[in-house]
């Protein structure tokens, strides 16, 4: 792995799509709309990501985790208002959307989020994206991570 640091040509994001002549990906993955929709918003990505660790979570815990992550603070330092905002957007938008996409199920009485039928495809896509980025970073020698 050559790790030579090229000069800073910032702004020029070095994403190269290499044609390898080996199209081993099944075309079916182009049709997984529910996967792409589930992952289209950062808060939904976080919820899907959290499914990798905990199969079952309370909405209020999830809101704390999301707020801690977004505000870059430890969970104990999340303010009431940050928690409220995260909770409300999960409850009113993102969890219902993930339920509609078959990725999670939500028990309203206990306010618990659990994986549903499509959860595995979505987490597999996240894992795949992570692996692909890792190998690209290694190939490029530097990271272009922004946002």
């Amino acid at each position: 792995m050559s790790e030579e640091s090229t000069g800073e040509d910032d702004g020029n994001v070095a994403v190269s799509v290499r044609a390898t002549g080996d199209r081993s990906l099944p075309r079916k993955i182009l049709e997984f709309d529910h996967v792409y929709e589930a992952l289209a918003h950062r808060r939904r990505r976080y919820v899907c990501y959290s499914l990798l660790e905990d199969a079952q979570q309370s909405l209020t815990e999830l809101a704390t985790d999301v707020a801690a992550w977004e505000n870059d603070v430890p969970e104990g330092a999340v303010t009431h208002r940050q928690h409220e905002r995260a909770y409300v957007s999960l409850y009113h938008t993102h969890i219902p959307k993930l339920v509609a996409l078959g990725v999670v199920s939500f028990d309203a009485a206990s306010e618990t989020v659990m994986p549903a039928a499509n959860a595995e495809q979505v987490t597999a896509a996240l894992i795949g994206a992570g692996a692909a980025l890792d190998s690209q970073q290694n190939a490029n020698g530097e990271t272009n991570a922004e946002n």
């Binding site: 409300v88 409850y91 009113h92 938008t93 219902p96």
Partner: protein, 124 residues
């Protein structure tokens, strides 16, 4: 009092033909909040916080129906505040209104979210 159809009214369009079922209803603003697209506060949260103000409860107690069941907030966000693909702001002027429970909620391109409730019709 007008009948509310349980949040199923969807969004109104400001065409000549009024799609809201109760044209004669008088609405009175009971809460408003400002949404700033540049802040990290989602439009969903601002709308729910404004409804909570109107109801006089904590935002986490606004629980039924979910906004998701009533309107596509992401679509409103994109329609009124969405930037061009190059990131520059559009010069959008307009508003969207929808029913939530007994309330009429209006979001305008200036970022104001207004929550109105019906007032009793005046005697004629």
């Amino acid at each position: 009092m007008p009948k509310t159809n349980n949040g199923g009214a969807g969004s109104g369009t400001d065409s000549g033909d009024d799609v809201t079922p109760d044209r004669d209803t008088r609405w009175q603003q009971v809460a408003k909040r400002l949404y700033d697209p540049d802040q990290d506060d989602a439009l969903t949260s601002v709308i729910v916080f404004a409804i909570a103000d109107a109801e006089g409860v904590a935002p986490t107690e606004v629980d039924a129906p979910t906004l998701y069941n009533v309107v596509d907030v992401a679509a409103i966000e994109g329609a009124l505040f969405g930037a061009r693909p190059d990131g520059t702001a559009r010069e959008t002027t307009g508003s969207v209104e929808f029913r939530y429970a007994e309330y009429l909620v209006e979001v305008n391109s200036g970022g104001w979210v207004r929550v109105c409730e019906p007032t009793d019709p005046e005697p004629r």
